[in-house]
């Protein structure tokens, strides 16, 4: 049973889409997250940076409950993730209830994780048809629109292994968008790409941000963070060291650790 923090505050701010309250995560004796407090507002693009092992990917995976919290609480869209609160006690949600919570949250992975046994179109319509029970024809129409949006309308019948990394990642974004999520999580979406393919994926993400999508982006692309991000969070050793406007943080970091990190990557 997870230890849960003492104050059961529901997210007060109506504008807040994600509220993390004192989020801890332990893997055995290793404490990866040591108390994260964060709020992501609707329409906000939050970029999370930090050295590897700082816990930024783990935090992202806590948002859609791919990782169970060890302590603390996390709300998305006013819903407590993974638990139901009743009479001062927490009850773990059942598998299908957690699945229902995740439907509203799209996720894009570093290694794409497209389904290799399905075509590009099959990948995009899989969840709408299987989970939301959208009629196949309607899902296909919507999928073609999304493939158009990510610039791959002619690849609908291709299989993932026939695509370049950048194309695969754009399909992965279309697949996540097909569920019409209110929040998109990006876990180092360009880190596994050849340098010349990074731009095409960032372009799609920039379009998405301009369309008003709420996004949490774990990234090493400082240029993207500066231009597209509304806020920047610097994490190190499982805590948020510094956060604020990306331009301020990147040009004039207030904390020593941030300065040390940025001096290495910029």
């Amino acid at each position: 049973m997870a230890e849960i923090s003492e104050n059961p505050v529901p997210p007060g701010d109506a504008d807040a889409l994600v509220v993390a309250d004192n989020v801890h995560k332990r893997f055995g004796r290793l404490e990866v997250l040591r108390g994260i407090d964060l709020t992501v507002k609707r329409g906000e693009v939050m970029c999370v940076i930090g050295p590897s092992g700082s816990g930024k990917s783990t935090f992202l995976r806590c948002i859609n409950h791919l990782e169970k919290l060890s302590a603390g609480r996390l709300w998305v869209n006013g819903e407590l993730m993974g638990y139901r609160q009743k009479g001062g006690r927490l009850y773990e949600l059942r598998d299908h209830e957690i699945a229902a919570q995740r439907r509203d949250i799209g996720m894009v992975f570093q290694r794409f994780n497209l389904f290799p046994h399905l075509s590009v179109l099959g990948n995009v319509i899989e969840a709408p048809v299987q989970v939301k029970r959208v009629p196949r024809a309607q899902a296909t129409e919507k999928a073609m629109e999304l493939l158009e949006k990510v610039g791959l309308p002619d690849k609908a019948d291709a299989y993932p292994e026939q695509l370049s990394g950048g194309q695969q990642q754009r399909v992965a974004i279309a697949r996540a968008l097909a569920m019409e999520p209110s929040l998109m999580l990006f876990d180092e979406p360009t880190s596994a790409l050849d340098p010349e393919l990074v731009g095409e994926v960032l372009d799609v993400m920039r379009d998405l941000a301009e369309g008003g999508m709420t996004m949490v982006v774990v990234t090493h692309e400082m240029g993207f963070a500066r231009e597209v991000g509304d806020s920047l969070v610097f994490m190190d050793e499982g805590v948020v060291v510094e956060s604020g406007d990306p331009r301020d943080v990147l040009t004039d970091p207030g904390h020593e650790r941030t300065q040390a990190f940025l001096s290495k990557v910029l």
């Binding site: 791919l66 699945a99 994780n113 299989y159 993932p160």
Partner: protein, 320 residues
């Protein structure tokens, strides 16, 4: 970003082909392999001797063999063998999926039950199982369906009688064919469980995560994402299992199942004192059916490798 092989002279030195150097095709005397010719000649000689023996040794009695190979009971035996193969494989695969999912479920009771099942049915030889199931009627004269431990429960309430709804005579239910089929299916389930477990574990964990992130339930992830991808790994060994099963249906003769192919061929051989021709007929029948099954396997493998079909960039099914 300079490559380590680059000469120290720098990149301004561009290689150009030397016009003086010859670019004509190489003409050289190829290496000869006389020992290969000797070996091939020797093997051809042995093959010729074998074929000569086939035609001259009277023990083969070819006319008798061909006369009886397609007799009515033998052809019926072929169908029994084929149906027993396909049915026991079908039941075995379903059992295997259930056992593999139980084994990976993380529930200690399900894990141990699955492990025990596999331990028992892999440990006992199929021949022994076939005979054992043929004699199962000794254990149960009738098979009854009702409330478990009913006599104890009724006694606890101070009542007499039982809570059994209907019963079947075990000798009818566990007659030769059913008993033999049960033995083969249950045994196959144990092997298929291991094959399917390996297949499921071969699928990248990222696939499950991606599917979960899309809001799919665990059952849906298994059925739509993990299992289809495991098929690629599962099908080749399953093809082997099917062919092994075809051959193991000969064990049904020991249940005994009298309508089965091998039993029929042996019976004809014994009755007419023509044992050897009928054994050759058995070899030929099993080879024919195995070949048919191998063709089937080729098409099933293609079906579960859709991307390779569309690209046609690899030799498909060549290895099996």
């Amino acid at each position: 970003m300079s490559s380590p092989n680059e000469p120290a002279g720098g990149p301004e030195k561009v290689q150009t082909p030397d016009p003086d150097r010859s670019a004509g095709p190489i003409t050289a005397v190829p290496v000869r392999y006389p020992e290969r010719w000797v070996a091939a000649g020797f093997i051809l000689l042995l093959a010729a001797m074998f074929v000569h023996m086939l035609f001259t040794n009277d023990a083969f009695n070819w006319p008798f063999m061909f006369g009886n190979m397609f007799s009515e009971p033998v052809v019926r035996g072929v169908w029994v063998t084929l149906s027993a193969t396909l049915l026991s494989m079908a039941i075995g695969i379903v059992l295997g999926i259930v056992l593999a999912v139980m084994r990976l479920s993380g529930n200690p009771v399900l894990v141990s039950v699955s492990w025990l099942y596999t331990w028992f049915f892999r440990g006992v030889p199929r021949l022994v199982l076939a005979v054992l199931f043929g004699n199962l009627a000794i254990l149960y004269a009738t098979i009854e369906f009702g409330v478990p431990f009913d006599t104890y429960i009724m006694a606890a309430f101070g009542l007499e009688g039982d809570l059994r709804f209907f019963s079947i005579d075990a000798r009818t239910l566990l007659s030769g064919y059913t008993a033999g089929l049960l033995a083969l299916s249950l045994s196959e389930g144990a092997y298929m469980a291991e094959i399917i477990r390996a297949g499921l574990q071969s699928v990248d964990k990222g696939q499950t995560e991606a599917a979960q992130a899309l809001g799919m339930s665990r059952a849906k992830v298994l059925w739509r994402i993990t299992l289809p991808q495991a098929m690629r790994v599962v099908i080749p060994p399953t093809g082997n299992e099917t062919i092994a099963m075809l051959k193991d249906t000969a064990l049904l003769a020991y249940v005994p199942v009298t309508i089965e192919l091998f039993y029929q061929l042996k019976a004809i051989g014994t009755q007419s004192y023509q044992v050897f021709p009928m054994l050759v007929a058995a070899c030929l029948w099993y080879l024919v059916i195995t070949s048919v099954l191998m063709v089937g396997q080729y098409f099933i493998e293609r079906r579960f490798n859709p991307s390779q079909n569309s690209v046609r960039n690899r030799v498909v099914g060549g290895a099996h």
